[in-house]
């Protein structure tokens, strides 16, 4: 019986430069931030990132790890724009494949189903086809003859997702109200790595929520990382909500080139335990 537990650094060691990596969650919600921080500690670079973008994109952009971003949006939800994403875009430093958010889901679904494409209406008439000239349309062979956009499969080398619970074999559970697109990211990828708030035994897992909350079964999961607080500063309901104060601190630091090195020094220059300790200290300072 495979025990798939590993550390975040061991996950990153299995990735290589130039890979296409899907990152689960949505905006500033249930992002695998501990895995993103592990990428920042490594030399991994030249990545194509596929994401419903949030601060995962911002942090990877801040360290110049993204060659191309495949996205529908980048937002921090309670704060509309991520400063680092804006900066690298405005400097022309990264290539983008910008899709309607439904097209992104269709591309992941196509890959998950091992189809070359899926037809959608979204995108037609907009600038999405102009900005992505490789896109093709497909005509319905039936009486309606409707022409639709053929969204190509978004095949991933690896998917990184963060959920609430898993067992050591890779059965994985979300306990919040929304699974986001994590199942599609997992199925679209050759390798899927999940970080979770807690690794529990299988009986405890199934007792912890309705059977519908068991989003990923172990056949699609290659590595399980125990990462309490691993989505911080994004939300991981019901374990915790978004750390709005910290997110504001991230944004203020990211907006100011003079302030950013101090943010990196304090939060991103040590291991995950160091990060979590500094986050706790920051909360205590701000709370007082």
């Amino acid at each position: 019986m495979a025990d798939k537990r590993m550390t975040a650094d061991e996950v990153v060691a299995e990735l290589s430069d130039g890979m296409t990596i899907g990152i689960g969650g949505w905006g500033s919600r249930r992002k695998p931030m501990a895995l993103v921080r592990a990428i920042l500690r490594s030399s991994l670079t030249d990545l194509t990132v596929v994401s419903y973008g949030g601060p995962d994109v911002g942090l990877l952009a801040s360290a110049r790890r993204i060659r191309r971003l495949v996205f529908g949006f980048v937002t921090l939800d309670s704060i509309p724009f991520d400063p680092w994403f804006g900066r690298v875009r405005q400097a022309g430093e990264i290539a983008v494949t910008e899709y309607d958010e439904g097209m992104l889901g269709a591309g992941l679904s196509a890959a998950a189903q091992r189809l070359p494409f899926l037809p959608v209406r979204a995108g037609l008439g907009s600038d999405v086809p102009r900005l992505n000239p490789e896109l093709r349309t497909v005509r319905s062979p039936y009486a309606d003859g409707e022409e639709l956009l053929a969204v190509p499969a978004l095949r991933l080398d690896a998917a990184l997702v963060h959920l609430n619970r898993a067992d050591a074999r890779g059965n994985t559970q979300y306990l919040g109200p929304d699974p986001y697109f994590d199942e599609l990211f997992a199925l679209a990828a050759r390798r899927c790595y999940v970080s979770v708030e807690r690794v529990v035994d299988t009986a405890e897992l199934t007792a912890g929520g309705p059977v519908q909350s068991l989003l990923l079964n172990r056949s699609v999961v290659d590595g399980v990382v125990a990462a309490p607080g691993g989505a911080h500063f994004t939300s991981a309901a019901p374990d915790y909500g978004r750390d709005e104060r910290f997110q504001r601190h991230y944004v203020e630091s990211a907006k100011d080139p003079e302030a950013w090195p101090a943010f990196v020094d304090r939060f991103l220059s040590g291991d995950e335990d160091h990060y979590q300790a500094q986050v706790a200290a920051f909360a205590a300072e701000e709370g007082s």
């Binding site: 405005q90 910008e98 037609l124 986001y180």
Partner: protein, 247 residues
């Protein structure tokens, strides 16, 4: 009622967007459209569906009593079925809008190296070719109402025609801090329907970066006493609306 604020007129104009929509999902983005949708549901459109902005559909109107959930609507369901199925009316924001209703929320300037990166196209391409779409603009200006948008995120009437996607395309109205507009002008271009009380037609024309059909422009209706009570006492007692639209 002479003490009615501009924000209150705008909230009611946003509510009017949903008149006749019946039992569909109202998806207001931003405060004034949200107040409008809630007002509509509490008055003349009781069958509208409203989400909490996350994964729940609410049987109770947000801001009124204890939250009562009536359904589950995670993001994947929105994109897989709610949008393509079309039983929805979204009110989006717009960084730029042209006379045909093409909208930009993606980036300002050259897309390869934008002068200002915005959200990305988000769901605007899918929304506009699948179901009714309106826009809310809190500061009506020539910067927003421009001859040509830099990135077509939401599809306007000319582009829908050219791409052959008019079947479900329904870019409906635009509400701003000054006026209500629709696309009843020549060749489905933007037309001024009404100016808010205290605003002149000339003022709207000056604030719009392209020629506007102003034939038959009336005045936006004033809120009823009941609408004012709901806005002031129930939906927005802290008057957050005044921070978005000044009088």
């Amino acid at each position: 009622m002479s003490d009615v604020t501009r924000a209150e007129v705008a909230a009611v104009a946003c509510a009017e967007l949903f008149r006749g929509d019946g039992e569909i999902l109202a998806s207001p983005m931003g405060l004034l459209p949200a107040l409008g949708a809630r007002l509509a549901r509490l008055t003349f459109e009781p069958d509208l569906l409203l989400s909490d902005g996350e994964a729940y559909l609410l049987a109770s109107t947000p801001g009124v009593g204890e939250p009562v959930v009536e359904g589950w609507q995670p993001f994947r369901k929105v994109l897989d079925t709610v949008v393509p199925h079309g039983r929805r009316h979204v009110v989006m924001g717009a960084n730029q809008l042209d006379r045909y209703g093409n909208q930009n929320i993606s980036a300002i300037g050259d897309h390869a190296r934008p002068a200002r990166q915005l959200l990305g196209v988000r769901g605007a391409p899918g929304n506009t070719v699948n179901h009714r779409t309106s826009y809310w603009v809190p500061r009506h200006s020539p910067r927003v109402f421009t001859e040509r948008v830099d990135v077509v995120s939401g599809v306007g009437h000319d582009r829908a025609r050219a791409a052959g996607v008019t079947r479900f395309h329904d870019v409906y109205r635009v509400v701003t801090n000054l006026a209500v507009l629709d696309f009843g002008g020549p060749d489905r271009t933007m037309r001024l329907r009404s100016v808010h009380p205290g605003v002149t037609v000339a003022e709207v024309v000056r604030a719009t970066g392209f020629p506007l059909d102003t034939t038959d422009a009336g005045e936006t209706r004033r809120p009823t006493a009941e609408e004012l009570r709901l806005l002031r006492a129930v939906l927005d007692p802290e008057a957050r609306r005044d921070r978005e639209v000044s009088s």
